[in-house]
């Protein structure tokens, strides 16, 4: 069964009606890592937000099925509990709430939803400890308030840690590489790679090819003006890097529809 099936998805900004997504088709099967690239303003983050249920967008056409469910009918928290995880481009600070407490609350909410017993403090700390090692997260950060005073790299690593602990079926990484130096990027990427287990699907959104040197995708899609205009394997990313996004934007529309066929397999 397909994990995620996006069909002809159109979405606009609720406030002013501007259409951002103009017919997205995308299929992700369990275990696949898809990279979504595209110039600024092409709709990459909007797709991440619409899939995860962020308020402020209006879906005007199309459908999204996730794990057999009608994803668009579910509120954000139900999508999260069902197994959709979004690693934020700009993780939010929550003063006064410890990172550990926040994560434990989240984990137990999700476990409760899945009919699993809640983890007590000791079991949870053991799990956290194991996952923290995976993403090389210092213990001190776990006891600080959520993202408060974290560096850019620490925030992104914290997102990967949350992903590891919450164990989602589909992880959407929204520009996890933005604002990271090369060392921080490596750490974050190795965390993500450790979570590739042949079952989990991933949608890695990035502006630059360099992240894909570390997280090798199975498929690469290029988004332009709200549509996937080209799909291919990891070599497409390299080609893009060499030729620039203008190369895609100049392509005649005919090839775009051919590509859509590939993506919708």
């Amino acid at each position: 069964m397909n994990l995620l099936e996006v069909t002809n998805l159109h979405a606009s900004i609720e406030e002013d009606g501007t259409e951002i997504l103009k017919g997205i088709d995308l299929v992700i099967r369990p275990g696949e890592v898809h990279a979504l690239m595209g110039p600024n303003g092409s709709g990459k983050s909007t797709l991440a937000h619409v899939l995860s249920g962020r308020p402020g967008y209006l879906v005007t056409q199309g459908s999204v099925r996730f794990d057999g469910m009608d994803l668009l009918a579910m509120p954000a928290e139900m999508r999260a509990r069902a197994g959709i995880f979004l690693a934020f481009q700009y993780p939010v600070e929550i003063p006064g709430v410890s990172n550990t407490y926040f994560l434990r609350t989240a984990v137990n909410t999700v476990r409760k939803h899945r009919g699993q017993p809640e983890l007590d403090a000791i079991d949870f700390l053991a799990l956290l400890d194991e996952k923290a090692k995976l993403v090389q997260m210092e213990e001190a950060l776990l006891n600080r308030s959520v993202n408060e005073g974290f560096s850019g790299g620490e925030k992104k690593r914290n997102e990967v840690l949350q992903m590891a602990v919450l164990d989602p079926k589909l992880a959407i990484l929204d520009e996890t590489d933005s604002g990271l130096d090369i060392d921080a990027l490596r750490v974050a990427a190795s965390g993500v790679n450790a979570l590739r287990d042949g079952k989990r699907g991933m949608l890695v959104i990035t502006h630059y090819q360099r992240l894909l040197d570390y997280i090798i995708p199975d498929f690469v899609h290029v988004l332009s003006d709200g549509k996937i205009v080209k799909s291919g394997d990891k070599n497409l990313a390299k080609e893009l890097e060499a030729k620039g996004y203008s190369w895609i934007e100049k392509e005649p529309p005919a090839s775009a529809s051919a590509v859509a066929g590939v993506a919708a397999r």
Binding site: S52, G53, R54, P55, G56, P75, A76, E77, A80, R81, F85, L86, F88, P91, V92, I94, P95, G96, V97, F102, L103, T105, A106, T109, V110, H113, S145, Q162, L166
Partner: protein
């Protein structure tokens, strides 16, 4: 968030809104010298206390209700209030021990989550339970008495320890202090009294649980806590009331006295009925609380979590008279729906090297209006006085308001004062972040608010901190819009 969610959530009921059917001794509504005399007579008080009441009453007649607070309410008709209501006890002179307390009353406290019996055994907290105008039960008395600690109802203190009461009553809040304090002094019916003798560290939390049950009654209790040289005591009060369409007045007075090296920690979890979603009903909580650090190196610490009441008018303060004395005020005040809170503190530095800390966290939601009003006064002889103030406001939604009025008066140039303030809003970003991790919107708000209030909540005794956290969550349900 959609209106449907908002609507569903705001139907959350006030869980303590029930009325207990108990046989009650109620005097007719209205206030006069005769009523003051009647209350005093019903309580079998000595002449000096009646005189004290009458003096307060006569002074009250000359006073005007204060209008400077940032709250609005229709005029209060003081002749329509019942000034005395007491559950009828089958025993003369009130119950002597828990075994003699009427089962209906025990059941009521049980329902409120204050099981007098169980708490006595399990939690090691001594409780004085005050319903309407009188104290109905005090636990752990014997154990405390063996250490020389007196913890009893105010009426009993008047009977058994008149010299102590006479010495300290009105010594911090004079009967002429303000309109509501004067009213309280005239008609106060009961409350708690606590005396910790020299050198004794009270081994358990002391607490009073206030409950208004009877309709149209005012509750006017007095609490007096005295810690002698080197004594240490931690005290907590909780309050609830039934749901009624009419407003009820609660005008209490609390006086604290700390002698040399003594420490008093006074915590409040105030959850009087706040009124309904349209702002109908609810308690007017007009309270005067003040502590006097009379001795050197003494310390008085106020911690309050104010989630209830239609209107709160309350400024727990410290008079820092003794050299090196310390005053602290930690407050979380929440105003949801149509609640109004005007609360804060006064720190009056008189002695040398006196220090004070103010941490105020105001949360406004719905149409709630939250005002911090605080005064820091450094008197002429207060060499090297220090104050640190922090006032933070959190707004939820766009119909509510937060207001801050810090007053500072410095008459000694060696003083150091710091003031920090911030206003923030629970943003869509924070909410969505939490929801994306699986938390419901309500849980997310509760989490964010508790994080905001953490600095204050951690000052509460452990078990009450947990209660207070839950209370903040419940009081805010339905505020996400």
């Amino acid at each position: 968030m959609s209106d449907a969610v908002l609507d569903r959530l705001t139907r959350q009921e006030y869980p303590h809104g029930f009325v207990t059917d108990i046989d009650t001794d109620v005097i007719p509504a209205g206030l006069s010298e005769d009523v003051v005399r009647l209350i005093s007579k019903k309580k079998g008080e000595p002449e000096w206390l009646l005189d004290w009441r009458l003096k307060a009453y006569r002074h009250w007649l000359t006073m005007e209700e204060p209008k400077w607070a940032r709250v609005t309410y229709p005029p209060i008709d003081y002749q329509k209030i019942v000034y005395y209501a007491a559950p009828k006890s089958r025993k003369e002179g009130g119950p002597k021990s828990l075994e003699e307390v009427e089962p209906e009353l025990l059941a009521m406290y049980e329902k409120l989550g204050v099981p007098l019996k169980e708490r006595e055994i399990l939690a090691g907290v001594a409780v004085d339970a005050v319903i309407d105008s009188v104290s109905v039960a005090t636990t752990f008395k014997e154990k405390l008495a063996s250490l020389g600690i007196i913890f009893c109802s105010f009426s009993e203190a008047v009977r058994e320890h008149p010299d102590l009461v006479k010495k300290y009553l009105g010594s911090v809040v004079p009967s002429s202090d303000n309109f509501f304090a004067a009213l309280n002094s005239a008609v106060f019916s009961d409350g708690s009294f606590c005396f910790v003798p020299k050198g004794v560290r009270c081994p358990m939390e002391l607490s009073t649980y206030f409950r208004i049950n009877q309709a149209d009654t005012g509750q006017f209790e007095r609490t007096l806590i005295v810690a002698e040289q080197g004594a240490v005591v931690s005290y907590l009060e909780g309050c609830t009331a039934p749901k009624r369409d009419t407003n009820q007045l609660h005008a209490a007075v609390v006086e604290l006295v700390a002698l040399d090296d003594a420490q008093i920690k006074y915590s409040t979890v105030q959850n009087w009925y706040p009124g309904d979603r349209e702002g109908k009903g609810g308690i007017y909580n007009f309270v005067t609380k003040r502590g006097k650090c009379a001795g050197r190196n003494s310390r008085i610490s106020w911690t309050q979590v104010e989630t209830g009441s239609a209107i709160t008018w309350k400024y727990p303060s410290c008079i820092l008279l003794g050299d090196n004395s310390v005053g602290e005020f930690y407050s979380v005040a929440l105003a949801n729906n149509y609640q109004q809170a005007d609360t804060g503190t006064k720190m009056i530095h008189i002695g040398k090297n006196t220090r004070s800390t103010i941490v105020s966290k105001g949360i406004s939601a719905g149409h709630g209006q939250n005002t911090y009003r605080g005064g820091v006064t450094i008197m002429k002889n207060a060499e090297n006085a220090r104050n640190y103030s922090q006032c933070d406001s959190l707004l939820i939604g766009d119909q509510c308001g937060a207001h801050t009025f810090p007053y500072i008066e410095v008459k000694n140039s060696s003083a150091t004062l710091e003031h920090e303030a911030s206003t923030s809003k629970i943003g869509e970003d924070q909410l969505f972040y939490c929801r994306q991790r699986g938390l419901s919107a309500e849980d997310a708000v509760s989490l964010i608010v508790n994080g905001f209030a953490k600095r204050v909540l951690k000052e509460l005794p452990m078990e009450f901190a947990v209660e207070a956290q839950k209370l903040l969550g419940v009081s805010l349900e339905g505020s996400v819009g």
